[in-house]
């Protein structure tokens, strides 16, 4: 028994060490990349991108389900995006409220027979509408498909543009977000097939008419901790993975894809729990199997602001769903592991996700139990135990502060001193007991998935209408 505990603790030590070193490496890569990106932007002028006739058209797909309170503001914001050739496709996904009616009234929708080629599976479409106020707006009214993926597929069937941008209708995009996210595509249109943008936490910020007026840090601790998590995930993780062309996830709230490639993989998988992750994984597989030279990029400055859960229950549900989504994608992709054909995706990205994302809650919880057990049985010195905890704490804090530093030296959206001090303070506070709770939620997600609960459950949000009250 003692021997087993000893081996387990030793393995846990190395697991932590490798995981932290991986994050540290990512932090260094990310800081270097951001600095280069900022300098590169110096020779760009967004207005030039806007003026060139070579800027390709984009269709923005915004699925909406029961969003009568905020849909008009959201549509107006999306139509106001700064981009020369834009088409907005709003998919009314079987709303039971007056989502369609309010749009009809506000945008003078008239029924049309627009091009709709049902190449991708989705629930039946009831009608298509085009706005008389702004011809760029097309509304697809469909029966509820039970998932965001189903709604996006319906939108994809109506797309005629070579690029498609998927957004959440309750998120706020900065006006020049599309121009910025298109920069990698414009630089290399043949190679870049998808680009992800950064998602930031909207809670606490001041919103007027759906437009972000002033960025502030949320008041609740649980929301501030999520701000740090998002900074860490996007400004460190995704930035670094994208450098090696191993980006495995483009957030469903804001990403641009080449429509022909999305079509060739059959669009979103309707039953996928993490539909955004699933799509990118299938795109990697498709391109690698075809032997095509491609790139999936990440741009850290086109910002999309989204609302995050503000209570433990919703957050727990969201994280359990994310974990289920992870397992739901990694399991079908297991045959990509360690195969030459899938290159760095099979050798690095997927093994990392298996080891340090999917199995992290299992390893951490088991590790905590074995460490405590070993300490009780005298197989572990109390000093070493406390030193180990302090080491984990200090190292994790370095990564979190590193993420805040990234935000500070590059995008600097939090201008208030008070906000920055609070943000830095939470870098020290987030580890207990939030991290442990997070692990339990993720473990719960895995358990639910293994028990056969594969249903897609949307997160409940207050939406833009409520956010205006801030």
């Amino acid at each position: 028994m003692i021997r087993i505990l000893y081996i387990s603790n030793h393995m846990l030590f190395w697991y932590y060490l490798v995981s932290n070193l991986a994050y540290l490496t990512m932090l260094i890569i990310a800081i270097n990349t951001s600095a280069r990106h900022q300098r590169r932007l110096g020779s760009h002028r967004l207005s030039w991108i806007k003026e060139t006739p070579l800027t390709p058209p984009i269709a923005v797909i915004a699925p909406a389900h029961n969003e009568e309170g905020s849909i008009c503001v959201a549509v107006r914001n999306l139509l106001d995006l700064d981009y020369p050739q834009l088409e907005l496709i709003v998919v009314n996904d079987g709303s039971e409220d007056c989502t369609l009616a309010v749009m009809q009234k506000e945008f003078h929708l008239r029924p049309v027979r627009a091009i709709y080629v049902p190449e991708m599976k989705s629930a039946p479409v009831r009608g298509l509408y085009r706005s008389d106020v702004d011809a760029r707006l097309l509304v697809v009214d469909k029966e509820a498909g039970g998932s965001k993926a189903d709604a996006v597929n319906a939108g994809l069937n109506a797309v005629t543009s070579p690029y498609v941008c998927i957004v959440d209708s309750d998120s706020v995009l900065e006006r020049d977000a599309l121009l910025r996210i298109m920069i990698p595509i414009l630089e290399n249109p043949k190679r870049v097939i998808a680009v992800g943008g950064i998602i930031r936490v909207l809670n606490g910020s001041e919103i007027k008419d759906g437009q972000l007026q002033r960025v502030r840090l949320p008041r609740k601790s649980i929301e501030v901790i999520q701000v740090i998590e998002y900074l860490r995930a996007f400004l460190i993780g995704r930035e670094a993975w994208a450098q090696g062309n191993m980006l495995m996830i483009i957030s469903g709230a804001f990403g641009v894809f080449r429509s022909d490639h999305v079509r060739s993989v059959g669009g979103y998988r309707s039953r996928a729990i993490g539909e955004d992750f699933d799509l990118v994984a299938r795109l990697h597989r498709h391109m690698r199997e075809k032997g095509v030279d491609y790139e999936i990029q990440f741009v850290p400055d086109p910002m999309c602001w989204t609302e995050v859960p503000s209570d433990l229950k919703s957050l727990g549900r969201q994280r359990a769903r994310w974990q289920k989504g992870l397992l739901d994608v990694l399991w079908p992709s297991r045959n990509m592991l360690f195969r030459v054909r899938y290159g760095r995706i099979g050798w690095f990205a997927l093994p990392y996700l298996w080891l340090f994302e999917l199995l992290a809650p299992v390893v951490e919880i088991t590790g905590l139990v074995t460490i405590i057990l070993a300490a009780c049985l005298g197989a572990l010195s109390g000093t070493f135990f406390s030193q180990f905890l302090i080491f984990g704490y200090a190292f994790a804090t370095v990564i979190s502060i590193g993420a805040v530093l990234q935000e500070e030296i590059t995008y600097k959206r939090y201008n208030d001193w008070q906000d920055v001090v609070r943000l830095l303070g939470y870098c020290f506070l987030e580890h207990f007991p939030y991290r442990q709770m997070h692990m339990l939620w993720r473990l719960q997600g895995m358990w639910e998935y293994l028990r056969g609960d594969h249903a897609w459950k949307p997160a409940k949000r207050k939406g833009l209408a409520a956010a205006r009250a801030h």
Partner: protein, 405 residues
């Protein structure tokens, strides 16, 4: 000598953890100190800068006209940066008269000369900054320094120089870019190059022709795409030589450019290109045919409506809807194609252009079409589905379609 792994292994977790804890805490402290120090420094810097900008803005006219001697601010780096930035921002948004005044100021104050000098002497990011500033000035004397930047080993510098030259939007800048690509080949991504060339060759597109003739793929395709964008009616005959080119991009460019030429010249070429095996060549040909607005293009547009590619179908439909006359006959011809995707594309284009009502009125008023057929056409318009195959009706409809062909 033991490897680093052996050393770590021998050190054991306990010793390692202690060292790691110290290192992590020191890193945390340094990071915190850096963030807080940087914030404080920037806060002070921007406060000082805002104050200075305000002062300079109040004296802006005197500054521009030279009433305030240039030496007053030119020797202070802080002021120099602010003045240059303000002048370039103003230049970006100014009308021609104001532009001339600002350019004169930039010249007289020696700012352009300074940037030219920096663009030639510096390397890396400092050179990029100088090139970007030169591009923003749009001053012809910057062209040669920008052209030198094109030959830099660093791609970011080359891109900055290319964008700067594009900003000049002059044939002289185009000459430099074309000479460079002819010499070096394609050493930057295609899009910035195309973009710069489109801006610079718009005035004299014929300057592209000799380069396209002698360039090799992939540069030839890139230049072809530019030609397609900037082609004018005067280039009609020159474009003909590319209609049969083996490079798809060049055929597409010819198709795109032909929409600007005389109909007699364009019709046959575009009709042929509308049946090209490459979809985007067909697409460009169909779009150009649609722009010609000549009834002789209708048969080709109708065949484009049954194309395998959805974009070609949609553009063909848009072209047909653009006619706005003979709508009933065109609609009958669309039905006669018996292609439901084509019909959908046509109805979409019709409804997008808000012309459905016009078609209904024309159907109502048409004397050429008998009542039975009118009912049939109205039914198709209403339901959006093709009628069941009916020999009599089909032949009736086909007559109208044949008349159009």
């Amino acid at each position: 000598m033991a490897s680093i792994f052996d050393k770590i292994w021998k050190l054991g977790p306990a010793a390692f953890v202690m060292k790691a804890i110290v290192a992590a805490f020191v890193t945390n402290a340094l990071l915190l100190a850096f963030i807080l120090f940087r914030r404080t420094y920037r806060k002070r810097y921007f406060a000082r800068r805002d104050k200075r900008v305000f002062e300079l803005r109040r004296n802006w006219d005197a500054l521009i006209s030279g009433e305030i001697p240039y030496t007053d601010w030119r020797n202070k780096t802080f002021d120099l940066q602010i003045v240059e930035e303000m002048a370039l921002d103003a230049l970006e948004a100014s009308a021609p008269e104001e532009s001339a005044r600002l350019l004169k100021f930039l010249r007289n104050s020696g700012l352009i000369e300074k940037r030219v000098c920096e663009a030639r002497q510096f390397t890396g990011w400092r050179r990029i900054r100088a090139l970007v500033a030169l591009g923003c000035t749009r001053a012809p004397e910057g062209i040669s320094a920008l052209a030198e930047g094109l030959r830099d080993g660093d791609i970011e510098v080359r891109l900055a120089a290319l964008r700067g030259l594009g900003r000049m939007a002059s044939p002289q800048a185009a000459e430099e870019i074309l000479a460079w690509v002819a010499e070096i080949g394609l050493s930057v991504p295609a899009l910035p190059l195309q973009n710069a060339l489109i801006q610079c060759t718009a005035e004299r597109p014929q300057m592209l022709l000799p380069y396209i003739q002698y360039a090799e793929s992939p540069l030839r395709e890139v230049l072809g795409r530019v030609l397609g964008e900037v082609a004018t009616p005067a280039l009609g005959l020159d474009l003909l030589q590319f209609a049969g080119d083996e490079i798809d991009e060049l055929r597409a460019a010819a198709a795109r450019g032909m929409s600007h030429t005389k109909i007699e010249l364009a019709l046959d070429v575009l009709t042929e290109l509308a049946h090209d095996p490459i979809w985007f060549v067909r697409l460009r040909a169909i779009v150009s045919l649609g722009k010609l607005l000549d009834p002789r293009t209708i048969p080709t547009l109708l065949s484009g409506l049954t194309d395998a590619n959805r974009l070609v179908r949609f553009r063909a439909a848009e072209g047909l809807v653009e006619f706005k006359i003979e709508m009933a006959s065109i609609f009958a011809a669309v039905i006669a194609t018996r292609d439901r995707y084509g019909l959908h594309a046509y109805l979409t284009a019709l409804e997008n252009a808000d012309m459905r009502g016009n078609l209904e009125e024309e159907l109502q008023a048409s004397a050429k079409i008998n009542e039975n057929e009118k009912d049939r056409l109205r039914s198709v318009l209403l339901t959006g589905t093709l009628p069941v195959e009916d020999a009599a009706i089909t032949s009736d409809v086909s007559e109208h379609a044949a008349a159009l062909r």
